[in-house]
Each structure stands twice: as C-alpha cells, then as structure tokens.
Symmetry: C2
Subunit: 591 residues, 2 copies
C-alpha cells in the first residue's frame, strides 16, 4: 500500500471545523451529514488506494506518448478512468438531474484530495471535466447542457479549458484565436492553443474543448473574448477540425498530456457560442475559480502523499545513534530530532491547509444554497477571500513539503526509483497553472481586499480574535501559547491590510511588491487559525476520553504549527510594510 | 551566451570584504594580489563561458551512460576536461612542486564558482580530484604523492571518494568494506561502495579511488576505519579489481555518473594504506571539509546561473500591463513588482552567500600560511565555523532560488527545453551530498559551538556588532536600517548560542530539534553581515564617484537582503528557543 487516505483527519475537520452538520441542514444536502460523508470517504479511499495510487509511478516512468496526432495514455489509466466514472466519482458534486450525486463541495473536496494523492496526473482529467461541466451549467443553453453534461458525468467524454496561447499566458487580453460566424449560427474557430491539459488522449470517446476566442470585430482586450464549446467529434460523429500537433516534455505530471492544439487548420473548427458574446472571460473565471480551489487541493494531496512516503522511510532506515543516547547503537532515523522536525513540518503544513480548504468548501456550500441571502453573501465573501489562499499557500507549501520529503530520504531521495523526487517534480506545476502564485496574490489584493475596503479581511481577523480569546481562557499551556502566536499573526495580517488599503491607489508598486508575502501571511494566519480551533476541540475531546491517540496527535501538530509556522507572519509583515522600496530599487539595467 | 561570470562582483568581494591585499601579504601568495586575481578570473570566465557552459544542457539531455562495466561521459565532456586540465585549472590551488599554480583558496573559490555555474556535473570531476589530492598531500607517503598527484593535476587521472555503502550513509561507523593485509605490505579490498561520483568514466586514463575500509581485527565503529588508495589501473598498467556494476538514474546532475563500485569480486582489489591504520576517517574529513566548502560554492554557482536565466526571460517575456500604469499596454514582466521581488530574492541570496564564502576562503588562506600562530588559530576557528554555514545555507538557498527561477518562467519553466527546471533538479542533491544540511547543523552545534563554549560564535557576533556601530553612525537611511536589522539578527544568534550551550548536555533533543534552524539563522546573519559591510563600502565608493552603476546596485541588493532575508532570523530564534518541545511531542506511533 503506497497511500492510505487520511479519512479520520478529514472527518474530524468536517465535523469539528467545517461544520458538516450545518451543511446537512442546507436545502438539497439533507442526506449529506457526517454518516454519509464517512461512507463516501471510505469508499473513495478504497478506490484510490487500490486502483489509482499504484498507477502514479507508472505514469512517471511511462508518460503519455504522442504519435501521428494521437496521444496514448499511460497503460492502466484508461481502465482506471473507466472504473472511476462507473463508480460515479465524476458526478460527485454535479446535479442529480444530469446523473450526478449532488453532494456538497465539502465532501467533494475531501474526495478530490484522495484522487490527487493517488495520482495528480490522473486526477487532472476529471478535474478539467468538472470545470467544463461547471461552465456549461452556468452559461450553456439547455441543449448544450443536455448534449454534453451527462456524457461528461458518465466519463464517456472529458472536458478541457483552452485558454493559453503562446503570447497569452497570465494575460488573457492577448488571446488571438478567432471565431467566424456562420450562417447556421455556429462559428468556425482558427488559432493555436498551448498547455492544454488532457487536450488529446484515448481515455474517452470524445473531448469537449471549451475555447476562448474573439468574434470578428469584437472589442480589444478582455472585453472581446467569447467562450465556445468545440468538441473533438461533432454530435453527428464527424471529426472536428481541432488537432493535437505535439505534447510537452515536462518536469513532472508526465502522465497527463499537455497538448498544443491547432484549431481550424483544415477549414475551421466548428464551435458553438456558450452564453453571450464577449462574456467568455467571465464564464471562464467560473471554471477557473473552481479549478483554483482544486489545484490548492492538489497541493494538499501531494503533500500528504510525500509525507506518508517520508514517514515510511524514516521508520525503516537505520542510521546513527540518537543524540540523547537513548539507544546504544544506530536507530531508525525517525528518532533523530531533525528528521522529526522535517516530518512535523510536512504534517503541520498539510493538516493546516487541509483544514483551511475544507472550511472554505463548507462556506461555498452555504454561499450557494443557504436560504438566507445575507448568510449566502457572507459565506461567498469568505469563500472568495480564501480561494487565493487555498491555491497559493497549499501549492507553495507543497513544494517545500515535497523537497523535505526528498531530504528525509537523503541520497536515496535523489534516485528516481525511490519515488520521492517525483513529488518534487510534480509539485512545481502547482504554483504555476490556473494562475501563478503572483496571480493569486493580485486577486487577493485587488478583488478580495481593496474592492471591499478590507471588510472581509477584517471580519476574518475578528473571527480569529474570538478564537484567541477562547484559547487564552483555557488552562493548558498549549492553548495559551497558541493564543499568543495567533494574536501576533492576526495583528500582522491587520497591519498588512491597513498597508494595502492605504497605498493601493497611490503606490501600487509598493503594494504589489508585497502581494505574494501578503498571500503567504494571510494563508498562514487562516490555516493557523484552523489549527488553533482544532487544538481547542482536541483538548476537549481528549478530556472526554474520545480517541486519545488521534486527539493527542492533533494537539501536538497544532502546537508545532504555532511554534514553527505561524510565527513567520511577523517577519512577513515587516518585509511587506517596511521593505517595499527595496523590491523595486534596483534599476532595470542593473539586473 | 548562456552564462556570464560575475567577475566584477567577485573582485569587489575579494578586495573590499575578503581582504585580498592581506592575503597577498601571506608567505607564498606574494603574487596573488588583486591584479593577479583579476587576470585569473577573466581567463577562467572566458574558459567556462565558452567551453563548459554550453555543455550543461547537453549533459542533462544525454547523461553519462553505462554498458558492460564502462561509463561513457556525455559527448563533449572529455574534450572539455582535457582543455580544463591543459589550461592548468585542476592545479589552481595545489602546490607548485607537483605542477600546480599554488594560488590561494580565495581565488580558487571564485574560479570554482565559475566552473560550477557552467556545469555542476562537469565540475564534480575536478572537485573530487581536488579532494583526493588534498588527502594525499595530508596523509600520503612521498611515493604516493609523487605517483598520484602530478597525474591528477595534469588531468590524466581523476580522483574519487569512496565512503558510502548501502547501510552506511551519514553514519560511516557502519562501513563494512574490508582490507586484508598482504605479504608485500599492500592490502586486498573487498566490498561494495555506492553513490561514487565519477566513480567510472572515460574522461581520463585512470581513476584514483580513495576508499574507506576496515583492516581485519580493527576496532568497531569509526575508530577502526582506514583509508586506502586503490587506482583503477595499477602502476604497472594491470586492471585492478574494482568494477562499476551500475550507475544511478537520478533527479539531476545527470551527466555526472554516480557509480556502484564492487571491490574484490575477482580476488581482491589492490589498495595501499594512506597514512596510519585506523585514522582513515580523520583523513577523509580533510577531503570532506574541502568538499563541503566546494558544495556550498556549487549552491552559489547554481543560484547565479538560475538567476541569469530568469533575468533574461523576464526582460524578454511581454505579459500584462504594469500595475502602476506606467505603460499603456503589456510590458516585459521584469517591470512587474512580484517578478522583481523574485529576481531580487535570487540575487540577494546569491551575493550574500558568495560574500560569505569568499570571506571564509580568505580566512582559510590566513589559517594555513599566516606567520603568527595566534592569527592562524583565530582564522582557523572562524573558517571552521563558517564551513557548515557555507555548505548548509548556500545549498538550501540554491533550492529556493532555482524554484523561483522556474516560477519566473511561468508555464514555460515547467517545460524541460527552457532549462530552468534542470537547475531545480540539479540543486536538490546539494543539500544532501557531502553531508546533509542536518549533518552540517550537527557539526555547527557540536564541534563548532559547544566544543569551544560558544567562543567563536560570540567573537563573530562581536565583529557583527562592530559593523552595526559603523553603519548606525552613517548618514543614510539604508545604513541605519541595515544596522537595526543586523542588530536584531545578531541578538537572535546570541540567544540561540546561549540556548545551545545551556541545553546541549542536558537536553540534546531540544538542541538538535533546532539545529538546522540555527544553521539557517547563523548563515543568514553572517551573509547579511557581509552584505551590510558591502553596503557601507558601496556608499563610500559611490560618494567618490567610483563605478556608480555597480555601487548603486550593491546598495539596493544589500538593502533587499536586510529587509527581506535578514529579518527571518528573529522568527527562527523563536522557533528554536520556544519551539523545541513541539518537534518531538508527537508520539512515534502517531506518525
């Protein structure tokens, strides 16, 4: 067994931090309480542990391959994807009317972590289908929804997001793919899209491309971009004029083919407008926001698996006497304090970000289905604030965690057969795709902080403060220390919010010089807040005699988060508030 | 041109921080003043830029290959190595009597950075020869020195260090390779060595293995290990019984073959004892200490090249409007504050660690040749304190720098053809080989801090304080801010030294739980100290009208170091002093 899903921790977070009982009171989620969650998670764990996880290394050693316009997935992937869809995992969060399970995002996010721990390359295919389904649910016509969504939920077809072009990466205003209106109401698409994940493959019968393009005569920039659905095979079975011309040779996630797609080289690819003309970017953002959260979950998933591999090695590998002389000869390296420090760092990051992500998911559920509009709005603001943190922090920490995973293995970590190095290679895409960390940070500064005058950020700080107060009133040293650390982190967060608001209009360079550190600070504070809440709950449960081993572990991990991670916030604050000038002081010519 | 050697920065550090004028007053180094350094560095730059640097990517794409016991180096490597030796680079720091140049380590370290920037895989071969030469100079007989050193300096033969065995990595007490005494005074060696860098190849006529082994009946543990010289071909030309059975499939440095060597499978490998029996580990440490410093320099070298690649991309890649609206359309991404922050982080780390390494090198020179014994001792203590910092910090930062280098490239960074990803893959070995970061940190705590009761650490802190005083008295805001940051870092360092000394005997676990953070703190403080000294010098030179562009850049980079890197020390101190308990609190079974 190379992966064991952390079902217990997920259920603890769902119950104690994310409030699954409240989610189960939302309309439509009446059956989605803790018992359902436990049953679904157990089933999901079994599937991913048994079917998907064994494919991960195989996908690295035998990546997807390209020949003559065809992409062949790694052996075993097609069968596993078939099983995945058969078992209903593709439809987990999608509407029952289209064949889905209609479960809340809270449960979906936990299941998403598992399949990504099992294999990120594999999981990317259903992740992209999820995005396409989401976009069609939002902006597609009834006919489009009926034509595409059930087939995607059934796993017969998969979806893609075709945004990037060679000159248009983070900056989608530069998209040049053009759409020519046809007499029958359809369009013909012409252009080149790059970095299209699972843009071509043999795992399903058809591939539904959602494509950003410009209708002739549309305004320049982002306001002239429309969204089109453009399947590989048209409904009548004819092959559409979209062709894969190559796939990339990448650092990691090698099993997932990253395609260059040519649209319209043979007369034009038939596409149909989704929603209204020139509103394509808006619809695409719906997919992207879901995908950003999903990529954050990938970071957590990767960190979890890297951690598990490192723990196994550290238990087995015998080397050197313990520094405290507790055994006379060499011992398992897990007994060495620095190995423990590395493992605890990996574990604390993972649990902290998982708690943050699941709390965000529950807010999403409330934001979409709570009967009270004020509650919906408040949850929506909270969720939207957290999306860049989940994406940015979880992926950045996953890089550190994967690197520590290699380090725990020593020289063996550098040998590919060990498997630890793959996680490091795979992790590096997570801080880049679906918007780099800097793009997430821009979102945090602009849309999530400046736009509402810091209201959401301050509301979160107030909630953090309430947790501090609760912890400070407790008897344990662990709680009181955590209250102090959390207070320092909250104050740092507020200082930076003040700095952002005071300068964003007058000195944008200074604010954006600190945007990524701000994201790291805010994410660390929010994840640390969840660990602080977990600490309090675990102390109570422990006192009540409930699952003492788990509760003691949670307390220890939360405390580590406080002492070794949460305390980075103050330094980040200083860098942001006092160090902005130094970021842009060097003249361009001097680099 | 894919690499341009930073000769100007190296000469600035040599002259203004490392004191090359003083080095040139040491006996034997009378000709090694700034003019000589400039001439040597220019020549070295040309060679590495033109001959070695173009091979780096080739070595990644076409690694060393193994077949039938033979290893073939990447095409082009053999010719380049021949040119390298012909031009005298192998003998740069070695004695004139054996055909070397007899130059100080200060110049050697700068040249070492260049060849490693050009290609770490390539540079490893001469680096290992340097270690073997060093060991033979220290412990070899006159006959051994005469037989091996001139051939290695001429590049006809190369050297290796054969330490690691499957069960003996960081813990060399577990070495099992055995040496059986023969009637003629030689020994026959039997055993398996793994992870032997350039352990087999076709770049030279012979390979001189320096091998740790146990003579039959030797004491257990590290006190029973002896050092043997065991060449691939014996002096009479017969093939010795040491054979490569495989090479590793690695994450990075793929051009440098990492061999598994079998000694004695066909009757015994002929080896000759180097120095005295059972003192092998002591001699090996001579090689290792040189190699550890050398690996630190590899980190700096890799960071420099990753930085240069990222700067080039950031200048060329056009994407998105500047946040300050300074241009109406999309601009080169180097104009975006977060890209600047990443590039400045890369640059500041690299310059800081370079300054620290060259200052250490100058101390090594004084420690070995200064006429006054007290001065020698003082410099030796300073150098030895700095070795784990140079190794540990420079390699850890090189990982961050390489990762940022990929990040600057966005999606293109994840595509192998771009080249940025190779640096990340290559960097990961640097924190592992020649002693992991944790091993360096153990050395810092044990031999470098506890053993002299903190005397060296406190002496360094006092020197840092003198720099603070000087900076605080200056007029500029940059100087006074830096003085403040440096003071906080120094205080943090002293707090940790006190903590280490107070607890190392009574609570070793607590001290070693913070050993790596202590290393990072001490390294950051010392590198930051050098940047602070550089700031003061640069302000003076700028006021005098000397090279204003360079001096302004140095001031800006130093300031960035202060505002964004040096200020991490306080958080590290808190983690070490207050967080030790949390590192080992989780019960072993709970991982």
């Amino acid at each position: 067994m190379t992966y064991r899903a952390p079902v217990k921790d997920m259920l603890f977070v769902m119950k104690e931090l994310a409030g699954i009982d409240a989610v189960a009171q939302l309309p439509g989620f009446e059956d989605a309480g803790l018992d359902t969650a436990a049953a679904v998670l157990e089933e999901c764990a079994r599937f991913n542990e048994d079917v998907v996880a064994p494919l991960n290394r195989e996908g690295d050693v035998r990546p997807s391959s390209f020949a003559d316009g065809q992409v062949h997935a790694t052996p075993g992937f097609k069968q596993a994807f078939h099983q995945f869809a058969e078992a209903g995992w593709q439809g987990l969060q999608h509407p029952v009317e289209f064949g889905g399970q209609g479960l809340p995002k809270l449960i979906g996010a936990a299941c998403g972590e598992m399949v990504n721990s099992a294999s990120i390359s594999f999981a990317l295919c259903p992740l992209l289908s999820d995005g396409a389904i989401e976009a069609l649910l939002t902006a597609g016509s009834h006919e489009q929804q009926a034509a595409y969504i059930p087939n995607m939920i059934a796993g017969r077809w998969t979806g893609t997001m075709c945004l990037t072009e060679p000159q248009a990466g983070s900056d989608l205003s530069l998209v040049r793919t053009r759409a020519e209106p046809q007499a029958d109401g359809s369009h013909k698409l012409f252009g080149t899209k790059i970095f299209i994940t699972w843009g071509e493959h043999d795992m399903a019968e058809n591939i539904v491309h959602l494509v950003l393009a410009r209708v002739a005569g549309a305004p320049e920039g982002v306001k002239g971009i429309s969204l089109f659905v453009c399947p590989k095979f048209l409904p009548d079975g004819t092959r559409n004029d979209v062709h894969c011309v190559s796939i990339e040779h990448k650092l990691g996630i090698k099993a997932s083919p990253t395609a260059v797609l040519q649209f319209g080289d043979h007369g034009g690819a038939v596409g149909h407008l989704v929603g209204q003309e020139n509103r394509g970017l808006e619809y695409m953002f719906i997919m992207m926001n879901a995908a950003r959260f999903g990529v954050g979950v990938q970071g957590i998933a990767l960190a979890e698996r890297a951690y598990q591999l490192a723990v196994r090695y550290a238990r087995d590998r015998v080397q050197s006497r313990p520094v405290d002389g507790s055994t006379p000869g060499a011992s398992a390296i897990i007994r060495h304090p620095d190995v423990r420090r590395m493992l605890m760092t990996m574990r604390a990051h993972t649990e902290g970000c998982r708690a943050m992500a699941l709390v965000a998911a529950a807010a999403y559920d409330a934001a979409h289905t709570h009967p009270d509009e004020a509650v919906r709005k408040q949850n929506q603001a909270f969720y939207e604030f957290l999306v860049p943190l989940v994406k940015g922090l979880s992926t950045e920490m996953s890089l550190d965690v994967a690197s520590l995973g290699v380090q725990v293995h020593g020289g063996m970590g550098f040998i590919e057969e060990t498997g630890a190095a793959q996680y490091l290679r795979d992790a590096k895409i997570l801080t880049i795709y679906e918007g780099t960390t800097a793009i997430q940070a821009n979102d945090l500064v602009g849309r999530k902080t400046a736009r509402d005058g810091g209201a959401t950020a301050r509301a979160i700080a107030a909630r953090i403060e309430a947790t501090e107060t609760e912890l400070a009133a407790r008897a344990s040293d662990a709680s009181r220390t955590m209250a102090r650390r959390l207070g320092a982190a909250r104050q740092a967060l507020l200082d930076v919010v003040d700095f952002v608001l005071a300068n964003v209009r007058t000195d944008a360079n200074a604010v954006f010089a600190g945007s990524v550190p701000y994201l790291m600070l805010a994410g660390t504070a929010v994840a640390g807040w969840q660990m602080a809440r977990a600490l309090a709950v675990a102390e109570d449960r422990l006192a009540a005699g409930e699952d003492p081993e788990f509760m003691r572990a949670k307390i220890a991990t939360a405390r580590f988060y406080g002492d070794h991670i949460l305390n980075r916030c103050t330094g980040l604050r200083d860098s942001i508030v006092e160090g902005a000038g130094a970021v842009t002081a060097l003249e361009l010519e001097a680099f």
